[in-house]
Structure formats: structure tokens, C-alpha cells
Symmetry: C2
Subunit: 642 residues, 2 copies
Amino acid sequence: MSKVIQLPDDKKPLSERLKAVLDGDYAEARDAARAFISRPEMTPVHPDIPKEEYREKTLAWIKDMIAEGYTKLPYDKQYGGEGEREKYMNIVEIIAHQDMSLAVKQGVQFGLFGMSIGSLGTEKHSSKYLPDVMAGDLLGGFAMTELAGGSDVQGISTEAVYDHETRSFTINTPNDDARKAYIGNAALHGEMMVVFAQLKMSPEGESMGVHAFMVPIRDKDGKTLEGVTIEDCGHKVGLNGVDNGYLGFKDVKVPYDSMLDRFASIDEEGAYHSDIKKKSHRFFKMISTLVTGRVFVSMVSLSGAKNALTSAVDFAEDRKVFGDTLMDKQATHSRLLPHLADAYAMHFATRFLMDEFKRGGPEVETMAAALKSKSSDNAVAVVDEARKLTGGKGYTSVERYGVLHDDMDVFRTFEGDNTVLRMLVAKNQLTHLARKFNGAAGLDKFKKALALHARKRLAHFNAGSGKTDDTHLTDPLTQRKLFAMRERAMMYALSEKMMKISKAEGAAEAANQCQDDMLAYADAYAERIMMQRFVKAVDAQQNPEVKAVLKDLCDLYAVHTMRKNALWYVENGFMKTQKTKALAKLEHKLAEKVRPHAKDLTSGFAVPQSVLTSPENAPKAEAKTAPKAAPKKKKRHWPWGR
Amino acid sequence: MSKVIQLPDDKKPLSERLKAVLDGDYAEARDAARAFISRPEMTPVHPDIPKEEYREKTLAWIKDMIAEGYTKLPYDKQYGGEGEREKYMNIVEIIAHQDMSLAVKQGVQFGLFGMSIGSLGTEKHSSKYLPDVMAGDLLGGFAMTELAGGSDVQGISTEAVYDHETRSFTINTPNDDARKAYIGNAALHGEMMVVFAQLKMSPEGESMGVHAFMVPIRDKDGKTLEGVTIEDCGHKVGLNGVDNGYLGFKDVKVPYDSMLDRFASIDEEGAYHSDIKKKSHRFFKMISTLVTGRVFVSMVSLSGAKNALTSAVDFAEDRKVFGDTLMDKQATHSRLLPHLADAYAMHFATRFLMDEFKRGGPEVETMAAALKSKSSDNAVAVVDEARKLTGGKGYTSVERYGVLHDDMDVFRTFEGDNTVLRMLVAKNQLTHLARKFNGAAGLDKFKKALALHARKRLAHFNAGSGKTDDTHLTDPLTQRKLFAMRERAMMYALSEKMMKISKAEGAAEAANQCQDDMLAYADAYAERIMMQRFVKAVDAQQNPEVKAVLKDLCDLYAVHTMRKNALWYVENGFMKTQKTKALAKLEHKLAEKVRPHAKDLTSGFAVPQSVLTSPENAPKAEAKTAPKAAPKKKKRHWPWGR
């Protein structure tokens, strides 16, 4: 990884040049992070480790991150930070190669906990807490989800009742089902939590909706504070380095200043104020801070996928099956190469998401929801495929497929359940469409737009739906159009269907009967972004060899995805079957073209070798006691006679 | 489960009647097995358990099975068994609900080890070993797979050299890569292994191909024998109750009688004899004993799927999301109900497989390979979906989704890798077709058959490809035809493609370029069987309510599967898009019809409640020490001032 000899760019091995493309502006920071996770003390844990030990190890790694100066990066300079959030995200993306519990625990501490103090609170909160947060002197968590509530966060039951006389809030968990659930850092290490609760101005008073409060749960000695009940979530499917817990509150009083009051506050006379008038609008403004977490999950899921792809390609290149190299088999191409193309597409898409996130683009919530779902689903799928390809070897815990699978399993649930997030994508885009075509006049405009879209589709159908030549199918413009038109057509169809059912059976029924369409739409949306970003990334390349390899991989992404969606294209008049069949053939052809570069493409991920496996914790006793070779001619007694 | 009051059949709750359908002739044995696994000592282990402890627990359960008299069931009466193999399989299918390590360890001991002694050996072996095998006095395993060999079992490197002077065989592992790998019962409990090795009649002599030998590896005190090297596979992704190991042999001598000599033997003069002349034919005859294992995996995978479906439907019925019951949501229908239909289809298909297995049907190897792949893939997929649906709760290890996933993960690899097995299905059927159309005259016949098939397809296309009404789509004859014609057409197309490529580029290239088609064919083959058996099961019902519910579920299976394969139907002229669109609508309609019976349908599986979760091993310390409710009015010091 170290750049001792500076070769002119095109003399470097292809894998190095691909790495440079992927690392982009953060090459130096990412290489430093690679060196960081390659330290002996960062060797991945073997899953045999007791969770108690794993949790302490994860905390020790957090401290290593602090010592390295990493954790100051995402915070503003005025609080002792460095204002380098993007750099930090890049580093965490690399750290995720080594251990997902570490990636998640840092996410709880420096993301969910620290960032929500910064973005939901005001100056007084940031200056008071952030220096301790980034130094690890105040460990905390983010207590939003409740046991029975799941994704319905706006409907949480925890209450914070304001008492103007004492200028304090009393936090209560009304029943067991309302306990805060699966809260990271709660079971063991957290001292304080950002607790989300329904704010009431008096015990019987009206709820002002969900607000966040800084609530201490433990003293400095780790003793649980009065009124707080903490239960350990215990062993989990994965992420056992993170101490998740359930939290209950019984008459827990916190002072006035504990309310994070950026979007709403209580004045000296005890009156409630907010610039955002509607409860639900306030709520959605508050939870928009969750976007950071979703950007984070998109990126670290991809890291897990890169681990698995690296290991699996290495295995397939080494393995002989019935005399041939496994990587040369058609089935192996189909099992690995589209996933490899997908990982590159997602890499470029997440860079774009990060850019949008930085500049606060209007679609960032939608994009983050779509890419988070897609990336976490893909990551689990690629790890699963890699494990299967690697057979019995992949089933031993020395290989890390099991751990990666089990750790990332919940990436599809937390920071927004993927099903709920996909519906959010569709809802946001429906709202966007409704705004564009507002009111009765709008409905006419909408119908005109639909008609225009239908005409365009027809024109497209006549022009290209039967074309089958490779030049046509690998034309970036054709590809982008086919992805974009699919997304548009699905949104229009969804919108029409919703209006129709809504009119006949009501809005709730319409929403329910369109769930599957909404889910499908969200993926089309994500795929369109991935396609666009991949094409742009190919365009941007100067080096001809890099450009050619990435173009083939981009084509594989495009063709594989279109083939996956071919039924839709046929059913909706975008493709004739001669075209969908041509795609199937072309996919095999592209796989053949990509195959010689498979190892370069995974080497471009530059996942350090030391984090691809996890050594066993205990020495193998029997292997050492059993004789390696028996002394010859010695008479042995076989236990035949039983 | 106990039948205290005998109600007339149609007064029983629907779930009881469905249970009766599924349990069939083995209702009593299955209920007894349910009682067996409901014992307190059979409570599923929490995954937090150290593997050493889990292994001993699994062995103790094996002894409970022996004490219960179960393990005598599959063996012939003349050796002390009961000749009730099917009953035994039914019992093991129930036991799998409780613990997959137990199911697998019994499979190693009483299936792979015991059954191969019975079927590869002769009378002398059976009478000597089987009584001890079923009593658990001789624990053993099945040492076939080698580290670098994977699925290429015919190419194993372990050697057994015959020496006529001493009438013994010397077993050697030529290099580390040739070690026997992932062998159950090898790391800890096994005393003797059925070892597969290349038989040579002299050190430099010709190999007679793969043969099996009884090789002791440990003495009665558990000490590894001289010349044998045992290494523990250590912690694995799942199945940590099974002690898998690597085995190496260095000049290990075993006497003449250790050769399992049903298909080949060495006479008194030291000459080799076999009725099966071709090495590879002998080999395939020998490994046809693996079929039992594949029937077993089909069945126990289904048990795991039933656990997950039961838990997930219970959760979805209880859970409120945004005010509605989760089970009422369209997305939940789509996530769970096709899996439920699939589980019923697989249940009926595995009963048929068992019948074919019993009667030694000619297609049993093909069927077992196809259904094993399908069932194990499905099981992992349904557990995955159930875990996601259950959110954070499903991620705690108290729920068993993680364990089920990780245990069954390798079901897709062992007893034949699913990719390799699917290719076996296609190869067997290609061979079958080649036999049918043998030689040059056959090629003409084949071309005529193709033309006839094309004409039939055309007739079908004209008659039904545009039909969209529910009566047509739910007609069992239509459904069966669409499944069967798909399978046939895929086989014909595969065969044509292979011949074409073979002629131009050679047989090896043809085989490689047809891998994806072969894999797809194998699933079409499995789906056709599942469809047929489901239709037959519906036909067989007398009770109108049961028949109606099963008919809807069968329709859901048919329609969902056809919808999944809709692109193929369209591309191959079997369906017009108005039909594929009608299928999508009908699938939602059928889901609505099935939904009210979801809980009855999972209750019909009769998975004991006690095996659906695994309690934690240690008491939750903190939950007990933290005060449940804080005393009021007591002044507390908040740690604000830091």
C-alpha cells in the first residue's frame, strides 16, 4: 500500500490504478486507515469469543480510534473538532472491513449520539457535550425505537412531562412494550442517552409530539441510576461487540437544559415555541438527522461486500474443479461478476450520495433511503453467494463469511427497516410528483404528462425496442434512458393506480394495495442512480485501460440489471423479446470480457489481507498431541474385536 | 397434541385437520417425536454456549434418541433393527425442529456411517458393526470429501494400497490438500470412519478407483491412533454441536475385512473382482448411497422453514404497524405467503420422494438432487425473510432465526453442493433423453420430437397463451401443463444447444457454456414435481374446508411460480403479456384468500412452542440488580457538571 516508488500512472499495475479511481480524493486517509486496521491488535476476532470479551475489545478499538485522532474529524472546529465529516466517513468505510461491531459502535457514539446532540441541540449542548463525546469521556447512545413500536417512531409512548415550577422534565416509560429497545451502548458502556419522548406541557396536557432529551442512565462508576431500568439484549445474531440494551424510565427527572431545542423550545414563561407549526413536520425535521446513519450504512455495507468479493475471487482463482479453474466456469461468472459490477456501481453511487449529503441537496433523504436499502440487501446477498461458492471452507469461522453475514443481517433493519425505507422513497417521490401537478388544473397537466410519456414510450418502442445489436445495448445513452424511463414510468403508473384505488376505496386501502409497487419503484430509483453514476465514472477516466475495464463492468451492470427487470420492460412495451434474449447473450459475453480482470477489480478494493480471515482463539489441542506420522513397523492393536 | 377427545374430523379446528393431512400415516410417530423434543432437557441451546459444551449436549441428545429406541428403526431386523426407515425419517424431520446439530449428528452416525456400512459392505460388516452403531457403542463418520477436492469426489487422492502377503490395506494421505475435510464426528467422538480412497493393488499399480474402508481413528479412551492425524475444524458458521474435523492418514494399516466389498472384492488369490466393469460406473453406484442423505436434507430443511414460518406468522398477527396488523399488509402477504405455499408444496413433494426412495424408483437420484437443492435454498430464504420481518426482535438470539440460518446455510453445500447437484439433475435428464433418442436414427427422431413439441407449443400458444381469466389460471390441468411443458422445453433447448456448441467447440466448452441453463432446468424440474404433488394432495382431500384452503394455497404456489418464471414463458411463446399481468393480479387476490388461514396453515406444521425460541444461558445480571422503580422524592445528583 505504501507508495515507495512513484511510477507514472499507466505503468502501475491495473489494480493500483483501479484503487486510485475508487479512493479518489481520500486516497491518503484511506491508506492510513488501512494501515490502522492492519495493526496486530486489530486482527478480527474469531466468533468463538465470549460476547463480554468482544464488547471490551470493541471499546478498546474505539479508544484506539480516539488516540489516532479520528473521532475529532466529523465535528465542528469550534467544539474542538476538525470539520472533516467526509474524510471521517471514508475512514469508517475502511474500518468496516475489519470489524462491523466497531463500525457500528463508533456509529452509535460519534454518529447517532454525538451528531444528534449537534443537530437537534443548540450551542449550549454542543459546547457542553461534544468535546467529551469525541474524547470518549462521555459514552452514549440514541434511544428512539421502542419494543412494540418498531418503525412507527412517531407513535412512541415514552413521555417527557414538563414542570415549569422546577423547570424540569419527568421521563416515564408507560408500559413494558414502550421500553427503548436494541439501543447500542445501553447494556454496558453508555452514561447518557439521547431519549426520544412525547413532550407534554402538563401531566394531563396535550402532547407536543416527539422531542429529544439528554438523559443520564449511569454514573461514572457504571452504576445504573435510580429510575432507570437497563436490560441487556444479550447475545445477538451478530454484532456481539456492541452492547445493545432495553431501557425503561420511571419518574426520571432531567433539568430544563436537557431538552435538545433546535427545532422547538420552552420559554422563560413556560410557553412552547416552534417555527415548525405541524407536529409531524417537526418530527420529520428531527429525524432527518437519521440520514447520516443511512449514508453510513450504505457505505459500510459496501465494505462488507468488498471483503466477500475479494475472498471469493481469490478462492475461485485458486480452486480447481474437475480439472478446471473455478473462476473460468460460466456458473461462477454468473454468481460473482454481476455482484462485482454492482459493488463498483454502488461505490460510485455512494460517492454521489456523499456529495449530495454535503451540499444538503433536496433529494438526499430519498437517495439515502434508496441506496441504504439496496446496499445492505446487496451486501448480504453477495456474502451469501461467496460463502456458498467457497463451500465447506467458507463455513469455517476462520473465513469471515458467517460473521459478515450475521453482522450485516441487521443492516437491513436498523437506521430504518429496508421495507419501510423503500416505501419512504416512493412516498417522497409521490409527494414530489403531487407538488409538481397540484390541484385540479394539475390533474389535467398530469394526464397530459402521462399521455406525453406514453407517446415518448411508443416512439422509443418503435425506435429501439427490437434492436438487439451490441453497439445499441452498450450505448450509455440507451442504457441510461432505459433505466430512467423505467423509473419514470413506474412512478407514473404508481401514482395513477393510487389515485384510482383511493377514489374507489379510500387512501388507506390505496396505500396498502400499492405496497409491492412502491417497493419495486424504490429499487428502480436506486438502480437509475447507480447506472448514472457508473456511466459518469467511466466517462471521467483518462487512462485507456482503466476506462475500457470499467466500461465493460458498467455494461455488465447495465445489462444484468436490465435482464433482471426484463419482464417489466416487456410487459410495459419497452422491449421486445428478441431484445431481452439479446441481453441474456450479451451478459455472458460481457462476463467473459470482465473475467480476466476479476482479480484486478477486487484488488482495487485494497482490503488488507489481514482482515479477510479471523484466526482461532485457542490453539488446536488435538492437532498438536496427535502424532504427525506414525513410527513404522510398530505393531498396533486394532479395536476390531468388540 | 394429545388426542384426549376424539372429535369427528370436520368438527376439529382447521389447523388440526391440516396437521392430519401433513402428518399422514406417521401421525402417531410424529406426535411422539414432538413430545420427545418438548422435554425440558431438549430446550434449544442459546448460541452463546461454548462449542465444547454444545458438542457434549448434542451427544447426550443422541443418547436420548438411542434410549427412546429411535435409532434401531432404520436398520434391518436381522441386525437388531426394526426395518422402519420411513418412520425414522419422519421422526428425524420432527427432531430437526429442535436442533439442527442433533439432526446432522444423527445423520452422520446412523445415516452416513451406519447406512454406508449396510449398503457398501456385506453381511460380515453389517453383523459386526450395525448392532454397535445403533446402540451408540461405535460412533463413526463418513470420510469422503477432501480439502482441495470439494465436489470432485471421484478425483480424491487418499490411497489404499493392497498387500496380498499380509492381506491388508495401507491408507495414506499423499499431501495436506488431500486430508479428509469437514468430517462430522471426526474431531471428538468418532472411533471409526468409512474412508473413501483410491484402491491400488500394489504401490506402483493401477488404481481400481474409489473404494470404501472401515478405518479406526481412535481407541476406546478417545486417544488418536498412530498414523492418524486429526484436526478440529473449530468453530463454524453454524452446527457447532457437531464436531467436524480434518483427517490425515500416514501408513495406516487395516486388515482385509475392512474393505466394504458389496460392489467389488479381492479374492483369496489377491485378484480384484467387480460385476461393474467401468471404474466410474462403480463409483457412481457406490455414491448412490448418498441419496439417503439428500432425502434427509430435503426433509430437515423443510422443518427449519416451518419453524421460521410459524414464528413469523405469529409475529405478524400480533404486531401493529402504524395502527394496522402487520399480517394484513400487502407487503407481508408477498413476503410470507408464497413461502408458506412453497413449504406445503415441498412437504408433498418430499413425501413423494420418500415413496420413490422406498420403491427404488429409477429417477430417485435425480429427484433427490433437485428437491434437496430447492428445499435447502428455500429454507435459508424463508428464514432470512422471517428474520427481516421480525426486525430487531428477530435479531436477538432468543429468537432462533440466526441459528436456523447459520445451521442450514451449509445444507446448501453438504450432501452435494446445490450447484453441482443441479447440474447432476440436468446431466441425468440429458442422459435419459440421449438414451431415448440414441444414435443417428435417434437424432432424426429427436428432431421430429422437437418439431412435434414446437407444434404442440404453437397449439397451446394459440389456445391459451392470451387467456387471462381466473378459471383458466386456476385450472389444475392448465397449471400442470404449463409447469411440465416448461420443463420439457427447457430440456429440449438445452439438449439442442449442447449439441450445437459441442459440434463447433467441443464437449467441454458445450458443458461450460450451458451451466446456467442446466441450473435453471433443475429448478424447473423440481417445480414441476412440487406442482404435481400439490395438485394430487388437493385432489385427495375429502373435507371440503381443508380442500378449499389447500386449493387456494396450491393456486398461490402455481401462480407465484409462474409469475417468477413469466419472462421465460413470454420469451418462449407460452404466454402473452396480458397473461403474465393477469398472474400478478391473481397472485394478490389469492394471497388475500389465503391470508385468513395463515395461522391455521402454520399451526398445521405443529412445531412445538418450546422449540421456537432459545432461552439465554445466563441470568441477566443487570436487569436484576437495577431497581425496577426508583423511590420517589429522593434527591439525585445528575452528572451534569463534568
